[in-house]
Symmetry: C2
Subunit: 454 residues, 2 copies
Amino acid sequence: MSAIDELTGELPAGVLVTDPDVMEGYRRDKAALVPAGTPAALARPVSTEQVSVIMRWAARHGVTVVPRGAGTGLAGGANAIDGCVIVCLERMTAIREIDAVDQVAVAEAGVINADLERAVRGQGMFYPPDPGSFEISTIGGNVATNAGGMRCVKYGVTRDSVLGLEIVLADGRVLRTGARSLKNVAGLDLTSLFIGSEGTLGIVTAATVKLRPLPATPPAVFVASFPALSAAGQVVTMIMAASVRPSMLELIDNATINAIEDYRRMDLDRNAAALIVGQADGSDALKDAERIATICEQAGADYVACTRDPDEADGLIAARRLAGTALLEAGPTVIEDIGVPRSRLAEMLGEIERIAREAKVRIATVGHAGDGNLHPTLVLDDTEPTTRDHALAVAEAICLAAISRGGTVTGEHGIGMLKRGWLASQLDGTAIDVHDRIKAALDPRGLLNPGRGW
Amino acid sequence: MSAIDELTGELPAGVLVTDPDVMEGYRRDKAALVPAGTPAALARPVSTEQVSVIMRWAARHGVTVVPRGAGTGLAGGANAIDGCVIVCLERMTAIREIDAVDQVAVAEAGVINADLERAVRGQGMFYPPDPGSFEISTIGGNVATNAGGMRCVKYGVTRDSVLGLEIVLADGRVLRTGARSLKNVAGLDLTSLFIGSEGTLGIVTAATVKLRPLPATPPAVFVASFPALSAAGQVVTMIMAASVRPSMLELIDNATINAIEDYRRMDLDRNAAALIVGQADGSDALKDAERIATICEQAGADYVACTRDPDEADGLIAARRLAGTALLEAGPTVIEDIGVPRSRLAEMLGEIERIAREAKVRIATVGHAGDGNLHPTLVLDDTEPTTRDHALAVAEAICLAAISRGGTVTGEHGIGMLKRGWLASQLDGTAIDVHDRIKAALDPRGLLNPGRGW
């Protein structure tokens, strides 16, 4: 009996699939520039126990396992490896619990971020992490990459909303981390160690997350149009140094404004060097938004506006959210994800423009400016090998420019396969050795998503 | 030449001390109930390089190393082990950098929390973590225990304010984690792994921390007096479920109120079952405080007050801050540190009263109620062995009661030596095995603070 037949026998019918046509849809994530292998099988477990069965089997037979959620990753971290079993968590969709008193929910790995959001919204709460993919990405994938989003500038990234995890280890044992209490320093912070580990240390099957009460009144939205990119970068440090904390602070550059307008008319100023768009959601949201707008005027904005009208506000935020879709329409894209200290934003934006000009590549930049997290998006003419190679070289140049400014090659998307080579400029040999030692301690045979994450 | 003589020769004069009288002052932290061994030497390095020299030497000779800061810990995590070298970071007091634009500081491990706070306050910022020991504890010790404080309810614990660490590993290499950018998912989250690790995985020599802009206007303080402990517990969930986030939300029980009044007249209501004291610091702080006071009235408070007058406000917060000192005056104390989900606060407070009554021990409880973090403080008649044994049994009963309510044996003080036995009820065999594997991966000879943390 083959090893695959043995696993088929250990799982209920339908969990393990070897049909190449079905597997084809699970071979890769959304990273355009990285290769994907051919899996031996695809497993779609519906329970933690089934994930355990799979990992015990994999450990017995030395089979590589690649965990994945919805496959919305942008770094190839969920791409198949030849001969692997893909473990897709998409069918583990139970929201096991919503506790409106303690403001906590327990969601399985396959729950779509927006589904969790909708489920808790009805009870007067929200789940803060809102990656751009929130309508299609899973909580498990969000945990695996420590996903961010627009609300992070006030409410933090995925890690800041996770109290504990349920994880299947490389040997099939189930590890439960964290506690239901908000503060907990009992033992090492295993929860944080697994968050952002991209499936290299274990398979996250469920997360206990913190929720927040919905704001009492609608948030107020502000928008400011800048004639110079440098001023748009500088205003971000001015806003964040003021004693008002926006719940969203985004930057949209000229190329992105025009891509959005080409895609759908939103009445954005096509001549602006950059727009700053954001919102405030405190108890006096409009006053806060007006203070931020005033700061934008002082920094050189030639147009500012604030609104608490839900339709107008939603329109402005919708324009920002359209950026990703609009750029995808413009051609094959490579979405970068650098982070820099906020004081270097203006300089970094200039550097991206310089790199684009010299490399003759169209780059549209949008980003979570309040966190110093930018998504320079390369819009390519085609996906020919030479175009891809050139795009990779440009992406690398951008990443190295971020590192040299005290930043990071990835703020919220992860290293996956795409950025492993560039990471060496950010993490030195000692840091990589510590990574390798932890990996060897938890997955001594290197079965879990080898070659990804660092 | 003895090993100690060898190390003396490798360090500048004065760094290594073997005088028993000097070492006596460094043998223990503030945990009353745990034993301390006799060290072979005390090292007081002034640089990261000196810490490296010490660890390389320790690795060569297989010598146990116990790192410590100011020794304000409450769980024995910094107590000497027979034959160890104590590495005290108290002389590494440089604030290497304060960046008011990016709102970041780099502080060495020996910097006193309040000194950092004072240094950044002059530039319009504050450092959020404010453990009760903030005037005497160090940033390194705060990192080692993931220290909390009163402002955590809005601004998070130490982990939420640390961007990166400089750490000397067990073999003497220097590991640098994190980045200067606010978001960073490049590689594993080693920063979080070391935060709260109580010196078991490496010696933290410096931390890069996030600062916040000072509130534009003085915070508003609220106080509410409750005739029943259960109502005081319940109001906490009501406040936290409202869309207003206090920047402080503390509970003081009757025994603590009276201890404070015995120590210094603060005009607190000696008959109240509990006081809820807190503050709001948003752009409309007084309105927020008034909303919270209204919720307290609805929950059964028989007296509420709000103030934005700085003198009155400081007085109320000072009363809360006096609790620790006042209880220390009342006799030898054992300060517990449990955490429970907020919905279980009322029940947990009742259980603590029941345990105190049955065990005939005076217990005064104060706590960071907004986070579900309570410090039941046992006030003992003496420190005789039978009294200590009884106190330990009572402390254990309180910890087990917290675990059985989904909570933790330690919210912000750490496990140290004191709570290792009780942790087994919170972390199962798989979790402990994962801890042991990570320890073995980073410190294979078990030199760093063995027997502490889990």
